[in-house]
């Protein structure tokens, strides 16, 4: 990097790229907030009923005696949709997600209680799934035995066809009921993390391996790997690890960000299977109670997490792949410098 003529302009260009990406990311989070807001608040009547009790529990007779308008204005649902929206957006800018319609607690407090649990689950699963995905992909491409290769390439596509909650139940049956190795539910201690992390990291690994296998196969078929490397005497192993794996990782990186969102969604379901305290439980309870503000808050926070990870992936992509640094603009500048 040092001494090359383009290095001087690299930080400036990088800063501009990052600024564009950040602006785009803010626009996406804002759009996600708006879409979810209008989806949720277009029919506000149910939220007020939910505040009194469940919708089923209330007969039409009781309903007539209640002053619904007073209740609506109490929680701010009587305002016009636009003023509610503006109120929500200004709150969002200040980092305030409003208060729960049911318990009146601030949504940020509710989220702060459960988010560490879910983030731990997601991060640990991700940390295991990346090396596992690479391992599976290499096993599906490198061994000489065709049986091993086709088996290893079958495993990921089979695993992604399994319902994730059902795999969780199978694991509970095998490892906690039959063998008694790990607790089947709860969220305290490292032992309770083992089974949910296994289910989720296998899912992540399978998805990553699918992408890696197809990109590794493409790379192995290109001239530099199929002709040049063997011609200069590189072995299969060397070709795969030193030449192909790095190039094949770029499609993986591009998919990584997309898969994180699916992993978060899977984490929500898995938390329910193992009865863990977390975002999943909060979401399910809020949906059952028609607690619109909490649902909106959870959706926005997860969308923001997803977008943030994708911005990081995009920046990492530019940093890692030298081909992306060579814009036509920089080439002309290089000539001018010379």
């Amino acid at each position: 990097m040092t001494g090359s003529p383009s290095s001087a302009s690299l930080p400036a260009r990088l800063a501009r790229d990052v600024a564009t990406k950040l602006a785009h990311a803010v626009a996406v989070v804002f759009a996600a907030y708006s879409a979810t807001f209008f989806l949720l608040f277009v029919l506000p009547g149910d939220a007020v009923l939910a505040r009194i009790g469940t919708t089923d529990a209330i007969g039409s007779n009781d309903l007539a005696q209640l002053d619904l308008d007073a209740l609506r204005s109490e929680v701010g649902l009587a305002d016009s949709l636009w003023s509610q929206y503006l109120h929500g957006v200004t709150g969002l800018l200040r980092g305030d997600l409003g208060r729960s319609l049911i318990t009146e607690q601030p949504v940020t407090t509710l989220l702060g209680e459960v988010l560490p649990n879910t983030v731990t689950l997601g991060a640990v699963s991700l940390a295991f799934s990346v090396p596992l995905g690479f391992l599976l992909a290499v096993l599906a491409v490198n061994p000489r035995s065709k049986a091993v290769r086709s088996f290893a390439s079958m495993v990921p596509s089979a695993y992604v066809s399994l319902p994730v909650f059902w795999v969780g139940i199978l694991f509970v049956y095998l490892f906690s009921i039959t063998l008694g190795w790990f607790p089947s539910s709860g969220s305290r201690g490292a032992a309770s993390l083992v089974l949910p992390v296994t289910v989720l990291s296998l899912l992540g690994a399978a998805q990553f391996a699918q992408v890696l296998i197809s990109s590794l196969r493409t790379e192995l078929g290109t001239t530099y790997a199929a002709v040049t490397a063997p011609a200069k005497g590189a072995g299969r192993f060397h070709t795969l690890y030193r030449h192909c794996l790095r190039n094949a990782s770029f499609p993986f990186l591009a998919v990584f960000g997309l898969r994180v969102g699916q992993l978060l969604g899977g984490a929500v379901v898995i938390e329910m299977v193992f009865s863990r305290v977390g975002l999943g439980r909060l979401m399910v309870d809020s949906v059952k109670a028609v607690d619109l503000t909490v649902v909106l808050g959870i959706v926005v926070v997860l969308a923001a997490v997803y977008v943030a990870i994708n911005v990081l992936v995009d920046i990492g992509y530019v940093l890692l792949d030298p081909r992306l640094r060579r814009h036509p603009a920089s080439a002309t500048r290089k000539e001018a410098d010379a």
Binding site: L43, L170, K288, Y306
Partner: protein, 286 residues
């Protein structure tokens, strides 16, 4: 620049697929499609292959699988085999609904934004697509259910909205790519309007990748709808929908593993069937 040119020249043409292997694939594809037809017939007329009523208490609770009850019985003695077969209808047709919603939404957004890539409409739709993509599918569906209430078909439409983003991206890419095809350019030169070009020339040329993507997402939609009903937001419990069956069986795992395991196996089998069809039809195209 020179690098890419030499590579294009030197690169050996991919060896032609052996005819026999290709023929084998086509045959497998036909067998699988026949299986789908069988599944649809069973889903519409479940009485053809079952001999117990799915809602009647025909046996003792928790009878292990045997000749009369091939999958055993559940906690109150209903025939699990009959329940699984009857549950196929809801699972299959809600997935159909989800995929139809996803395909329709994705086609409209994809074609609109692919018409003028980089234009204002394309950028606005791109941000909207990305915003919906940023919300995990299950959570988006839960948000829809918060407003419109639980139920298999609400869940299906909600999952379809989430999956429409993937279809939109795929179709946008295909439309842009198809715009550079020679016969599309020829049609444009002959004076065909943009709408005529899209509907007569572009759309027919992209149906193949879209179809195999649809088959793949059919299976994924089944999984997503299954997780929603597992969470308790799909069909209500007396129903035999597979997610409901699995959720019901989880409580009795220690006494009777089959109540939760068998419906999951059925769901897996159908999803594998569709993803295999997607894989084969994709291969067949090349």
């Amino acid at each position: 620049m020179t690098d890419t040119i030499t590579r294009a020249v030197v690169e050996p043409a991919p060896p032609p697929t052996p005819v026999r292997r290709r023929r084998g694939r086509v045959r497998e594809l036909h067998v699988l499609l026949a299986l789908v037809v069988v599944l649809v017939v069973v889903a519409v007329f479940p009485g053809l292959v079952t001999w117990h009523d799915p809602y009647e208490l025909d046996g003792l609770p928790f009878t292990a699988p045997n000749g009369d009850f091939p999958f055993g019985t559940d906690e109150i003695g209903r025939d699990l085999y009959s329940r699984v077969v009857h549950g196929l209808r809801v699972s299959l047709f809600s997935a159909v609904l989800a995929v139809v919603v996803a395909l329709a939404g994705g086609a409209v957004i994809g074609v609109l934004s692919g018409l003028r890539p980089g234009g204002l409409l394309d950028r606005a739709l791109g941000i909207l697509t990305e915003a919906v993509m940023a919300i995990p599918g299950v959570l988006l569906a839960l948000a829809v259910i918060t407003t419109y209430g639980r139920g298999a078909f609400v869940a299906a439409v909600a999952i379809g909205i989430g999956e429409a983003t993937g279809f939109a991206r795929l179709i946008r890419g295909c439309v842009i790519q198809a715009g550079t095809l020679t016969y599309v350019e020829a049609a444009r030169t002959c004076g065909a309007g943009p709408l005529r070009v899209v509907f007569r020339h572009v759309v027919p040329s992209i149906h193949h990748p879209v179809l195999s993507y649809t088959a793949l997402h059919f299976g994924l939609a089944m999984l997503a709808i299954g997780s929603l009903s597992y969470l308790g937001f799909g069909e209500a419990p007396p129903s035999a929908e597979w997610g409901v069956l699995i959720a019901g069986g989880q409580k009795y795992l220690a006494h009777a593993w089959w109540v939760a395991v068998v419906p999951g196996l059925a769901l897996t089998a159908v999803v594998v069937l569709f993803s295999r069809i997607a894989y084969l039809s994709q291969k067949d195209n090349r």
